[in-house]
């Protein structure tokens, strides 16, 4: 670094400096919240309206997929929780499945965060937790045609033949809406094997990284709604009127987005000015 002028130093700031700056930038808003308002965008509003009001009837069965693990709780769990609450308040019944082996932890967190809504519900009647499935897209395709072969018992070992809710769920034709929240491709499995093949209503509660990939599917009508990352979760919390984890995290997100833009501008200022100097 010696012999470098200010412009070259701006281009070559040690990444460890940035890691510390980013860490502090992310932490400070948790201690000193700012609370900027969150504007709800159309794709999130469509998702919320698609699972509330006239779009869902009491007794309808919704399939909710925990396509995320514990590591993605901050991005997916808030939106998923709001969706589950909204469906329960409409009187829908919910079948929970998961593609990650830590799905039980995610389900326990959901039950904790939506404790008031779960309190009035009976396991096996109003909801059922089928648990982890292995088999990827083949399993999702088979779930659409014969769900009982994919899940002969629920996560707790109860045979599906003994579960009242499962008497009404054998395949795609019994499901009113599918909500998939994932960090990877499980949503696209549902897109191909449920929505594309059978026209099932499908929405995605995805991570921000997948937002640009999912957006064309929302515009094309394959997803009736789309929640993107923590911001989508915060928007859903605004819509249901119950601020939660995602709303709390928005300040950190604001700070980190701003920081990345500042860092890129600094690097380019250094780059352009050193080129001019040369």
């Amino acid at each position: 670094m010696s012999g470098q002028n200010i412009f070259e130093r701006l281009q070559n700031i040690d990444r460890r400096v940035f890691y510390w700056v980013l860490f502090i930038t992310l932490m400070v808003p948790f201690i000193y919240p700012i609370g900027l308002p969150v504007k709800v965008v159309k794709n999130t509003r469509d998702l919320y309206e698609g699972i509330t009001g006239d779009n869902i009837n009491p007794g309808d069965i919704a399939l909710m997929n925990f396509g995320y693990g514990v590591s993605a709780w901050s991005e997916c769990a808030p939106g998923f929780t709001v969706s589950a609450k909204a469906l329960f308040r409409e009187g829908a019944r919910i079948v929970f499945i998961g593609a990650h082996y830590d799905v039980e932890l995610s389900f326990n967190k959901l039950k904790n965060d939506a404790a008031a809504d779960f309190a009035g519900k009976v396991d096996g009647v109003d909801y059922v937790f089928l648990g982890y499935f292995a088999g990827g897209e083949s399993a999702i395709a088979q779930l659409a045609t014969d769900a009982w072969t994919v899940y002969p018992e629920d996560h707790y070992g109860t045979p599906v033949a003994d579960i009242p809710l499962m008497q009404d769920f054998h395949g795609w034709q019994d499901i009113a809406v599918v909500l998939s929240s994932d960090t990877g491709d499980v949503g696209s499995y549902f897109l191909r094997q449920w929505q594309g093949a059978h026209g099932t209503k499908l929405a995605e509660i995805g991570i921000a990284m997948n937002g640009s990939t999912d957006y064309p599917y929302y515009l094309a009508g394959n997803f009736f709604g789309l929640s993107i990352g923590s911001r989508g979760g915060a928007e859903l919390e605004v819509l249901i009127g119950e601020p939660g984890e995602a709303t709390t995290a928005m300040d950190s997100i604001n700070a980190s987005h701003l920081l990345i833009v500042v860092a890129v501008i600094l690097a380019n200022v250094g780059y352009l000015l050193s080129r001019r100097q040369a």
Partner: protein, 217 residues
């Protein structure tokens, strides 16, 4: 592995399964028992492959430990952790029919594995940050335009963008609709065509990767 197993058997199996899936999709409005059975087999085979991976891991780390290779201590630690988690899960399952009911298993999963997973996911943010800082340079006009568009899209994704200037969300949305979404659609279409073409070549026995060296030349 003989060429017969690598090529002809794979070729025949692939062809039969492909035809079954095609026939079911196009000619049966609901599921077809034959295709449904084959899908069940696919799920079972995938689950068996998880066991195969486990066996491979054990072999790898037993070799490492036996031969005292570099960092063999970590291989030994892995074997201990593997045995503890395996028998903890089995003990839970044999006891109550629920694999995650064992205390030791749960403690290790909730307090060791899960936080480690969350930490590695969190590292992504830092690496994206350093990659963006290093790579987003306005080296030419194209790069400069992309940089400007990227900044607007980043700021429009966070509420702070609107606070800085009310026009940022609108401009970010414009970049998204005119640049990002069409670009993603293009990649989606060409990627799908590429997948179909790859599948077709694989069906005809041409692709090396599919036949692991047994492809037709």
């Amino acid at each position: 592995m003989s060429q017969l197993l690598k090529r002809e058997v794979v070729f025949a199996l692939t062809g039969v399964v492909t035809v079954l899936m095609f026939v079911e999709y196009f000619f049966f409005p609901s599921d077809w028992i034959v295709a449904s059975t084959v899908r069940n087999w696919a799920v079972i085979i995938y689950n068996i492959s998880l066991g195969l991976g486990g066996v491979r891991l054990i072999m790898q780390h037993v070799w490492g430990t036996q031969r005292r290779k570099e960092n063999w201590q970590f291989s030994a630690l892995f074997l201990v952790a593997f045995v503890v988690m395996l028998f903890g899960g089995l003990a839970g399952y044999l006891g109550t029919g629920v694999a995650t009911s064992n205390g030791v298993y749960n403690w290790l999963f909730n307090n060791v594995y899960t936080p480690l997973g969350s930490t590695t996911y969190a590292i992504t943010g830092f690496y994206i940050f350093s990659a963006a800082y290093r790579a987003f340079r306005a080296r030419n006009l194209d790069a400069a335009l992309m940089l400007i568009a990227g900044c607007f899209v980043i700021l429009s994704n966070a509420p702070v963008g609107e606070v800085i200037w009310s026009g940022i969300p609108a401009i970010g949305e414009w970049f998204r609709f005119t640049g990002q979404v069409p670009g993603m659609r293009v990649f989606g279409v060409v990627g799908a065509l590429g997948t179909i073409a790859y599948g077709f070549r694989a069906l005809l026995g041409k692709e090396r990767g599919f036949y692991a060296g047994g492809a037709e030349e």
